[in-house]
């Protein structure tokens, strides 16, 4: 990559010069181009798969699963349904990406293009493989759409490039920590729109009418997906009923995770996360029951206050006396809950106050394209 190809000012110039042509395309043409690109991304060749696996730290099998489920949702029909009746006002979107979840780049990069808005994405210099792959796939599917999409890779300390990136944007989308969102907010002018998606985690609930065996199979998929590194990943699962039911569920969940590990092995774990895992498991063993292998663990901590896990397939199971006390049971974690997975009779409205995204167990990590993650329509801010 030449220096100019990584300079936000040059990238803005390029994508803005492509903007008239992008807007001149019909929404059907844009949707078809994006769907074509996503179909290709959902079936990566071996080289791309290996590259993305290495850059993300996920196993190749997990990477394949992530690409299939993420980009498989971007069908032409789903894209057209999403954009129907909406009119974009933004003239350019800066998408500041996070490296923690492989496919998190998809929505912030592709949906502005669907709405006819050029986009420059900022990727971590350590993990920019997928953003570049998305840009290339869109270009291959439709050069006019691809010309309105660019990726800059630079580190979080590069204030000059960040300012240049933000200066060209009418709307800014930030994925990352609360601190990252706040840092960007400080740099924006009043007229610029910010859509920040900060800290968060997922919580699971097994209602009294759910079969614990089926619930354990479903939640095991939610825990294993992306190695539990995303903000929709369940860190704690509450089981309605008594301690014995929670213990039975925990044991079954552990067994289900063992089966999934054969099909979708866990990837690499960085050193500090391994240290956190050691501490988390120690607390679980000290105050409850711990089922653990090297690559996954389930604790059962009964009525203890909830605590977040370090991720990487470590999940806590807790007793929930009644769904009526679910909100109180979440305690300090309540403000971080972005996704609630439910096993049993799902009454989404009843749970809507607890999390912006409510899903059936097993579907927490595969939200439909129209899902209002963070409580926002996917096209908000455009």
């Amino acid at each position: 990559m030449s220096s100019a190809e990584n300079e936000p000012l040059a990238l803005w110039s390029r994508v803005q010069s492509a903007a008239p042509a992008l807007r001149a395309l019909s929404v059907e043409e844009r949707a078809r181009a994006i769907a074509t690109a996503c179909a290709a991304l959902s079936r990566p060749d071996g080289a791309l798969l290996a590259l993305l696996s290495a850059s993300s730290g996920l196993s190749e099998a997990m990477t394949r699963w992530a690409l299939e489920t993420t980009f498989g949702a971007f069908s032409e029909r789903a894209l057209l349904e999403l954009v129907a009746g909406r009119q974009a006002r933004a003239t350019g979107v800066a998408a500041i990406l996070s490296g923690n979840v492989l496919s998190a780049a998809a929505r912030p990069m592709l949906l502005p293009l669907l709405a006819g808005v050029p986009v420059v994405a900022k990727a971590s210099s350590r993990d920019d493989a997928l953003p570049h792959a998305i840009a290339q796939a869109v270009s291959a599917a439709h050069p006019l759409v691809g010309a309105a999409c660019a990726v800059a890779s630079f580190g979080h300390e590069d204030d000059a490039r960040l300012d240049a990136l933000l200066a060209g944007a009418a709307s800014v989308q930030v994925l990352g920590s609360d601190e990252a969102v706040a840092a960007v907010r400080e740099r924006l002018a009043p007229a610029q729109t910010l859509i920040g998606r900060g800290h968060g985690l997922g919580i699971g609930v097994v209602l009294h009418d759910a079969a614990v065996a089926a619930a354990s199979e479903a939640f095991a998929r939610d825990v294993a997906a992306y190695d539990q590194r995303g903000c929709l990943s369940p860190h704690a699962i509450l089981v309605e009923g008594d301690d014995a039911r929670a213990e039975a569920f925990a044991r079954l969940l552990y067994e289900a995770l063992a089966r999934i590990a054969r099909e979708l092995p866990r990837g690499s774990v960085p050193g500090d996360a391994r240290a956190e895992q050691l501490q988390w498991r120690g607390v679980a063993a000290a105050r409850g029951v711990l089922h653990a292998s090297i690559t996954f663990a389930v604790s059962c901590e009964h009525g203890a206050p909830l605590r977040p896990s370090p991720g990487y397939r470590n999940v806590g199971v807790y007793t929930l006396q009644s769904r009526d006390v679910l909100s109180a049971r979440l305690g300090q974690l309540a403000r971080f809950v972005k996704a609630l997975g439910v096993a049993g009779q799902l009454d989404a409205q009843a749970f809507a106050a607890l999390a912006p995204y409510v899903a059936r167990a097993g579907a927490m990590q595969t939200p439909p394209l129209a899902a209002h993650l963070d409580g926002l329509h996917p096209l908000d801010g455009l």
């Binding site: 800290h199 968060g200 985690l201 903000c231 240290a275 501490q279 063993a285 000290a286």
Partner: protein
């Protein structure tokens, strides 16, 4: 004599025998194995950890360590709370998230802290004037560091310690006056304090420089915890040497933890931490918990015989590398790997950690 009294007497005797720096790892490990067995029988959370691990018996390393976070969530003690004579707490923003080390008897703490400080900090003097850049135990009664430094006064101090830190801050005028007095009289002094207090002092003293008398020394300890700008160990040593006119060999870092009764001190050439003979320090792989090979990085595990009434085997989150006669601690690396939106919510909730 109860089993506890017997073990306490044997530990005290071992501390006295090894106070001068001698080692007897065979005796230490044999006693550790007995102590861990005693603790498994009396400390319920430790019994659960041992049961879960499927380990125990034999060599101390075959016993699992208690991760330090456990002290934040459950009581780890062989006695009930009514018998506590002191509860040391990790720093933190809320009571619920602070680790607690509950002691029913401070005699082993005192014996170990005194013996190893004598060997590592004050081997050449009986007493000297102490200047303290840390809160006193009266001001911060649940700080193990404040307790230890307070105890230094009767053990090693000449007269009362000079409290440079009081009422929540540094008294820089008192510090400067005391140091000028030392220059004038030629009487060596020891400055004892936290790393961030020394940084604040350095920021506040401006152009003032001191040429402290020969034999003066500095003990600095702890991290920065967001309380001051961060200074790398080598830079800290140079900064202190330049500011106070003390040779770098006389600037000694201390490594202590709320969950431990004993301390490690730094020696130079090469820089490493040395543990007393009644403490076993091992670098372990965070997943297998087996010792790493020489030169490899691992997590610091410390087995401290002086922790008789809680649990001796402590598993920290500090990274380190083993060297021939000690360890080099590399610190913690939270946030070194990008976590994005899932960044440890625990860190947000826990606030500052000890």
């Amino acid at each position: 004599m109860s089993e506890r009294e017997l073990l306490a007497a044997e530990i005290t005797a071992l501390i006295e025998r090894l106070a001068g720096g001698a080692r007897d790892d065979t005796a230490r490990d044999a006693l550790l194995a007995r102590v861990l067995r005693y603790q498994r029988a009396r400390v319920a959370p430790y019994a659960r950890i041992v049961t879960h691990s499927g380990l125990g018996d034999g060599d101390p390393l075959s016993w699992p360590g208690v991760p330090t976070d456990v002290f934040r969530f459950v009581r780890v003690a062989s006695h009930d709370a009514a018998r506590d004579v002191r509860v040391f707490r990790t720093s933190g923003t809320t009571q619920a998230q602070r680790g607690e080390h509950a002691l029913r008897d401070l005699s082993l703490y005192d014996a170990g802290a005194r013996a190893w400080a004598k060997r590592m900090l004050f081997p050449d003097v009986e007493r000297m004037r102490l200047l303290v850049l840390a809160p006193s135990a009266a001001e911060l009664p649940d700080s193990s560091l404040s307790y230890m430094i307070d105890r230094f006064a009767p053990w090693f101090g000449k007269g009362a310690s000079v409290a440079i830190w009081h009422d929540g801050g540094l008294d820089l005028a008192l510090l400067e006056a005391t140091l000028r007095d030392a220059e004038r009289t030629g009487e060596a002094v020891a400055l004892l304090g936290t790393s961030f207090a020394f940084v604040h002092a350095d920021d506040g003293l401006g152009a003032a420089r001191f040429a402290l008398p020969a034999g003066s020394r500095v003990m600095q300890t702890g991290g920065f915890k967001g309380k001051s700008r961060e200074v790398a160990p080598d830079e800290m040593r140079s900064m202190l040497s330049a500011r106070y006119g003390v040779s770098e060999e006389q600037i000694i870092a201390e490594y202590g933890m709320t969950e431990l009764c004993s301390q490690l001190y730094e020696r130079m050439n090469p820089r490493r931490l040395l543990a007393p003979g009644w403490v076993r320090v091992t670098l372990v792989d965070p997943e297998t918990l087996q010792p790493v090979r020489p030169g490899e990085e691992g997590l610091v595990r410390i087995d401290d015989l002086a922790n008789l009434d809680t649990v001796s085997a402590i598993q920290t989150s500090d990274r380190g590398v083993p060297v021939e006669d000690g360890i080099v601690v590399l610190g913690r690396a939270p946030g070194a790997v990008p976590r994005g939106c899932s960044i440890a919510v625990d860190a947000v909730l826990a606030g500052e950690r000890a």
